[in-house]
């Protein structure tokens, strides 16, 4: 049993966050302009700024953490090194990238989820939500917030419903490090919500689950 990936979409149908764990078939990096900035460093179009793997300062960076040389104290007593290192620091190390480009994949995932959501709403007598679907290789779970954010997770097909996990991500890391983070421009349609604390916090939450092994 394991967890493969997490996608977050905003109400404008755009992917604002992506993270993956045990994927053996990774997506290719998105084409230039295919996805917003600050969605995931691992799938961003490859540019010289991304290749050095270092976070530059301010808003130009894919992550919203100000570096210390800007003179703004973001957090005291917590250095980057203490955070669990994200598995994407070395993009695509040791896994094949035979999949689709990430921007294509993100659109397909959203399309499938929206079509299924509409189908379920049509078939149901009351206003019912689509919860999950499974194939022979994976299971997709959906949690939608009132504000239109969609949390989508891919896991092992034998996993139970992981809706509560998606809700935990929303209630915990998402509210704390995205909604309450003044440096994240939510709903901007220009950039994603990726930042170091959110990524580390989600990573910790997922790795702590019993289905993650």
């Amino acid at each position: 049993m394991t967890i493969y990936s997490l996608y977050i979409y905003d109400r404008h149908c755009t992917c604002v966050y992506y993270q993956d764990w045990h994927r053996t078939k990774r997506p290719k990096p998105a084409v230039e302009g295919g996805i917003l900035s600050a969605v995931s460093q691992a799938v961003s179009p490859i540019t010289p700024a991304n290749n050095d793997g270092l976070v530059t300062s301010g808003f130009a960076s894919p992550r919203h953490t100000l570096s210390s040389n800007t003179g703004v104290v973001v957090a005291v007593g917590e250095s980057k090194n203490q955070l669990p290192t994200a598995p994407q620091t070395q993009p695509f190390a040791g896994s094949s990238t035979a999949g689709l480009p990430f921007d294509e994949e993100a659109k397909l995932v959203y399309g499938v989820v929206i079509s299924l959501r509409n189908m379920v709403k049509k078939l149901s007598l009351r206003d019912e939500q689509f919860v999950n679907y499974c194939t022979s290789a994976y299971k997709l779970h959906l949690f939608e917030t009132v504000s239109g954010y969609k949390f989508i997770m891919l896991s092992d097909p034998k996993a139970d419903s992981l809706r509560f996990v998606l809700r935990q991500i929303y209630v915990g890391p998402f509210l704390e490090y995205v909604v309450r983070n003044p440096l994240v421009k939510m709903d901007s349609r220009e950039q994603g919500i990726d930042n170091e604390y959110f990524r580390a916090s989600v990573d910790r939450l997922i790795r702590g689950l019993s289905v993650f092994a």
């Binding site: 189908m119 049509k122 078939l123 689509f130 999950n132 679907y133 290789a137």
Partner: protein, 136 residues
């Protein structure tokens, strides 16, 4: 455990058979069922390409809050879709039996045109005895 309905979708995504058993889902017009079957056909194709690990089949079970759709894809591309309550566990065996009945009563029927809507009393009655009023 309740069985709400059965759809048979041909390999081109057209709905060739649709029948409701128990109440519990919204009654739709035949046009709406056709649209849903077409959508499902498309979704089925996309889901097999989204696999995070190696190759995958298309979607097999779709769950909502009170019902689920169980999908059986045959090697010839025909899809059998059974709409049941969440607690139902017999869907796979029923779908397999429906496939058996389809092979017997539809494919061996010399008056049936392949890929066209199923109008066969034999199929209807045998499905009726298999599923009844949808309560198990």
């Amino acid at each position: 455990m309740t069985i709400f309905g059965l759809w048979v979708v041909n390999k081109a995504g057209g709905l060739v058979y649709q029948r409701n058993f128990a109440d519990g889902l919204a009654p739709l017009t035949s046009n709406e069922y056709l649209v849903l079957a077409g959508t499902l056909h498309g979704i089925h194709a996309i889901t097999s390409r989204l696999s995070p690990v190696g190759s995958s089949s298309g979607v097999q079970v779709i769950e909502a809050e009170t019902f689920k759709m169980n999908i059986l894809l045959t090697v010839t591309g025909t899809k059998f879709v059974l709409l049941t309550s969440l607690a139902d566990t017999s869907a796979d065996t029923i779908l397999q039996k429906v496939y058996d009945i389809y092979s017997d009563a539809v494919m061996k029927n010399p008056f049936h045109t392949p890929e066209m809507p199923i109008r066969s009393d034999g199929f209807d009655t045998r499905i009726g005895t298999l599923i009844g009023n949808g309560q198990t």
